[in-house]
Symmetry: C2
Subunit: 333 residues, 2 copies
């Protein structure tokens, strides 16, 4: 592999000049520039990015820490990140997290080891000491779908979203509203819990008594949702509407309803949460939390922070949009 010194020798110039040509510095005469370019061409020279990285201290790489791609929402966010990053010169290193210990290890090491210029953490809220560490590092960090007062973040208000979903059902006249979700307590992001809080708040504000038999929260995945939906729909007084903690679960409920020949939305209203692609295909009414956009915005915020570190943590709240499709309807009286 030829180096910058080989090029310099060949072009009869100094190494500094070659470097200047590589970095398109204006203070090189056309004549020398051409000579250097010719030498580069002849030697088929490519600058070694690692050497540049060591020298400049910049890596042109951003690190993305996110959970294993087990949920469509993570994938959709990652897609947004990729999309936004494709238009820059930054590379992306992926650190995917299966257990809390992995998360902690990445969050601990990444800010210190000069491997990346910036960090994007998706759907993994750091604890106070981690946030402290991240905030004090000289590498900027942006949280996507997570909040900490010390850090920049792209936020989704899950409580509000849960309220919005529930209120939509209430506005349609429903009173028997069930909530079906993944476990409320997770090692990672507590978004489900927040959505549940929104559900409770909406009930409270509308003077609708809470019924514990209407809440099932140990439901992982579409298949399980289908199973659990049966339980809900088999109650002596079954709900007329179900708010699912995410779209995948909602689709599972739709599956079951079809099997049970329960007409949606005529006999049962179903609303999801997330706004993944499948929700569109299945005509699911849902709360769209703009997943793709969250990734894009996360990158933009990080790029801004890379240019000039913000004096105070910036915060951007993404909109939550109720998308009315064909799975919710006025309750029949």
């Amino acid at each position: 592999m030829p180096t910058i010194r080989d090029v310099a020798k060949r072009a009869n110039v100094g190494i500094a000049t070659v470097s200047r040509v590589l970095n398109s510095s204006p203070s090189v005469s056309d004549e020398t520039r051409n000579a250097v370019l010719a030498a580069i061409e002849e030697l088929d020279f490519t600058p070694n990015p690692i050497a540049r990285q060591l020298s400049t201290g910049r890596t042109s790489t951003i690190g993305v820490i996110l959970p294993y791609l087990t949920m469509p929402s993570y994938v959709e966010r990652l897609r947004g990140v990729q999309h936004a990053l494709a238009e820059t010169d930054y590379h992306m290193v992926l650190f995917s997290v299966g257990k809390p210990s992995e998360r902690d290890a990445y969050i601990k090491d990444l800010p210190r080891n000069n491997l990346v210029d910036g960090i994007l953490i998706i759907s993994l809220p750091p604890d106070d000491s981690q946030a402290e560490r991240l905030a004090n590092a000289d590498i900027p960090t942006v949280l996507v779908d997570a909040y900490h007062e010390k850090l920049c973040c792209i936020l989704t208000d899950d409580v509000k979203g849960g309220k919005l979903a529930t209120q939509h059902l209430i506005d349609l006249g429903h009173r028997r509203i069930a909530f079906l979700s993944e476990p409320l307590e997770t090692p990672f992001h507590p978004s489900t819990k927040y959505r549940y809080q929104g559900y409770r708040q909406a009930l409270l504000e509308n003077d609708i008594p809470f019924r514990s038999e209407y809440v099932i929260s140990e439901t992982r995945g579409r298949f399980k949702a289908k199973k659990m939906a049966k339980k809900l729909l088999g109650l002596p007084e079954p709900p007329t509407a179900i708010f699912a903690g995410n779209d995948t679960l909602a689709i599972g409920i739709l599956d079951r309803a079809k099997d049970l020949k329960i007409k949606v939305p005529k006999e049962l209203s179903v609303i999801g949460f997330d706004g993944i692609r499948d929700a569109e295909y299945t005509n699911l009414t849902t709360i769209d939390q703009n997943l793709f956009e969250s990734g894009v915005e996360g990158v933009h915020m990080l790029l801004k922070a890379l240019e000039a570190a913000p004096s105070t943590p910036c915060e951007r709240r993404l909109s939550l949009d109720l998308i009315r499709r064909k799975t919710t309807k006025k309750v029949k009286v």
Copy 2:
């Protein structure tokens, strides 16, 4: 940031000794080792990986080139890669490709610029000159779901899979078998075309006349599949079975059948291809091409190549498994 020299000074040893401690070389006395470790602790020193990379020429990083995560099969393969890589010390840099020009750029630059120790290319077959370049680079490359004689690869035999799927339907007594798929000609991987070839071959071998009205191949996504299924099922002599080019399309067909009150599998058999998770949930009979495993195996092959470059391209063919679920059945006579 403290450097190795700061540590050396603090511990009253030479920098070489500190380096030896960092790399757990055996030829350091316990006494000096402890002194160095103490100094490292006191200074909160972390070695700079970039400097190490420059010095050793190794980056502990592998580059993954793959299409944008628009299809579940890509995500599933990537998951496999992540899973296998998590058990190693390698990092993963993701290069995702939306247009052929991006693919070409990555394949051109990545092998030369010392940024990664190895390259994994997923579902993007290189042309001859690219393969040549990759084969001659001193960085090993492994193709996953793509073939080139000059390169190591993890293979799926799409023709065979297409045949397998079609033969399954034929064995069940079907004669009117449709094929619904994404476009046959794509800028990237021609797997759909191969599956189609398998379909044609199976028909031929069983003396079943080919009918062009049974082939619809411009179908992108579940939603479009639903639309196109209507067209197929509305034919004067509709097919009794449909082979879908991938699971997502098959699920779209199931949606439509439900809407049209066509009973699956009693009145219509449907088989997919891929073996994504949704296929399990929907009880779809499919050809499982072991997507997750392809990612895992790709990493293993690459790791092996990193240890010792294989003298001749190695090749591993993944099994294709017919998973009989509840969407195919003997045709009613």
